[in-house]
């Protein structure tokens, strides 16, 4: 997983080792190395603007830096880059399971809306997350609020049946907000701890569909809005993250399909744009294929 980006950073050691022997770093010393590194990042699906930003910051930090005796320049550059990326990824991320338990102990369901563009993996991720909740003995009901896409109702219904989880379905062409609302009522009347709302995929640039999503949010007042992003996404990840965040306001991100031997840069792009934590990674089509995202592990792994 994320091998590409890791390789890019490993290469660093070979390129710069012999280049700099000075004591104070000047622009010329780092310019070429950083330019290469920027391209490497882009090649690994860090969005262009994000990569440019990171490199600019690193450059500022490095120029004028006094390399100490015995300190390797390679390490200086690496550390600066690593810190820069780390700063972009570490946002407050209190454990979601604890949050759900806390709210449930007050007899209130914790409501999560999953949103994102078409086909990224929202519905599958809801099934996987339900499985996580089940394993933690937390009750859950699913709201099948995608009343638009052909087969969407049957798809989520099969998942709910397989996982043995209650589901409130809707009718094709019906109002998604009312499906979601009904699921919340269902949870309240039965003391169910979590409501997971599956919304139809929509383009972040589609004004009407964004209005529809806003209505769902207004009606359900969710505790959390989770943006789902496909790890294969290139530069558009920035637009997706920005527009969903600006229009709806997201609280957390889940990245899917990282099993597709992905480059890994998307995690950096979406974090830096939204400044919201990535909470889980989806890495396959089975219910078990969801794991917690750990920014430290991710960044350390890139620089191992």
């Amino acid at each position: 997983m994320f091998e590409g980006l890791k390789k890019a950073f490993q290469k660093l050691s070979n390129t710069i080792k012999d280049k700099v022997e000075y004591k104070e770093l000047k622009e010329d010393d780092v310019e070429e190395v950083l330019e290469d590194l920027k391209l490497d990042m882009i090649e690994n699906d860090v969005a262009f603007d994000v990569a440019e930003n990171i490199i600019e910051n690193v450059k500022k930090e490095l120029i004028g830096y006094k390399v100490k005796r015995g300190e390797s320049v390679e390490d200086v550059i690496k550390d600066s880059l690593k810190n820069s990326i780390m700063k972009l990824m570490e946002y407050e991320n209190n454990d979601i399971i604890t949050k759900i338990k806390n709210k449930c102990s007050k007899n209130e369901p914790f409501v999560i809306v999953f949103l994102g563009i078409n086909g990224v993996g929202k519905t599958t991720t809801i099934a996987k997350f339900s499985n996580v909740l089940k394993k933690n003995n937390i009750s859950v009901v699913i709201a099948g609020a995608d009343t638009f896409r052909a087969g969407a109702q049957e798809q989520i219904d099969v998942h709910a049946k397989r996982l043995d989880i209650p589901i409130i379905k809707g009718q094709y062409g019906g109002d998604p907000a009312s499906v979601a609302y009904n699921a919340i009522l269902y949870a309240k009347s039965r003391g169910i701890c979590t409501v997971l709302i599956d919304t139809a995929g929509r383009m972040h640039s589609d004004v009407d569909l964004m209005e529809e999503l806003k209505k769902i949010i207004r009606v359900t007042k969710p505790d959390m809005k989770v943006l789902v992003v496909d790890a294969l996404t290139g530069n558009d990840a920035v637009e997706q993250a920005r527009l969903f965040n600006d229009n709806i306001g997201i609280d957390a991100i889940i990245i899917t399909k990282i099993d597709a031997d992905v480059k890994g840069g998307v995690a950096i792009s979406v974090s830096s744009i939204t400044k919201k934590p990535i909470i889980y990674l989806g890495y396959g089509q089975s219910y078990e294929d969801l794991k917690k995202f750990d920014p430290k592990e991710y960044v350390n792994n890139l620089f191992d």
Binding site: L39, I42, E43, N44, D45, A47, F48, D49, I117, N118, G119, V120, G121, F148, R149, A150, G151, A152, Q153, E154, Q155, I156, D157, V158, H159, R162, G201, M203, H204, S205, D206, D230, L232, T233, G234, N235, D236, A237, E239, Q240, L243, K257, D259, A260, D261, V262, K263, G265, V266, G284, Q285
Partner: protein
Amino acid sequence: MVLEGLRNAVTKFLKGGSTYKDSVEEFIKDLQRELIKSDVNIKLVKELSENIKKKALEEEPPSGISRKEWFIKIVYDELSNLFGGDTTPDVEPKKIPWIILLVGVQGSGKTTTAGKLASFYVKKGYKVGLVAADTYRPGAYEQLKMLSNLSGAMFYGDQNNNKAEEISINGVEYFKNKNADIIIIDTAGRHGYGNEKSLLDEMRNISNKVKPDEVILVLDSSIGQKAFDLAKQFHETTPIGSIIVTKLDGTAKGGGVLSAIAATGARVKFIGTGEKIDELELFNPSKFVSRLLGLGDLDALLEKI
């Protein structure tokens, strides 16, 4: 929007000021930047811009046309040649029945596109059959069935069979007996890495058994730098004949399709511009190149030249 930069560069460029050579250098830089932002493969960007630069500096424009306008034309030609030039794609069946196999990564839009293609051909007066050969994704059967109703195509599926290969063979047989003109097989999404190696075998087996006349790769326009490897892997498993790019109604520029073309040699035939059954358009290279470059008015500019 994102590509504002290039538009300004063109304006600046057409207005002139600096020498031709300097303008070329500057433009190439902007061009590279915008192509990368559009998700064109980095190596391709380098190749492309080298070619463009060479031609721009070597060739002389015909009289009456400024060198700068000439240069824009070179950029356009270089890119649109990659898409097979300015001819409209040929989408007529070459024999009856014409068997189409749709393949692609999870969620790229295969099933939706199967419905759209069916609708497209039904409207042209063909008898179309849809085969539901995705045995993995929950609801895939119902999804395609609903789309076949919407499009007026026939439907074949078997929920009691979990062998995609058998369903494909039976479906083709079924539709041959019904005198279908066009048979479209929808398959499960796959990327083929890691645990999914067996899914590549499945795809190869389906292809070997039904011998499709056309294998179409369905590519999500938002895909990044992985597009090349993925397309290459699909092509090595079952040779890709054509490409359909989906979700171009969003903000993605679709540069990944250039990687797919480079990896397969296939031509782009259609683009998807929405979720609805009629939101499928014939591919138009000039329109696509303008989009890639963020130049809305490229056609008008080219007409002048």
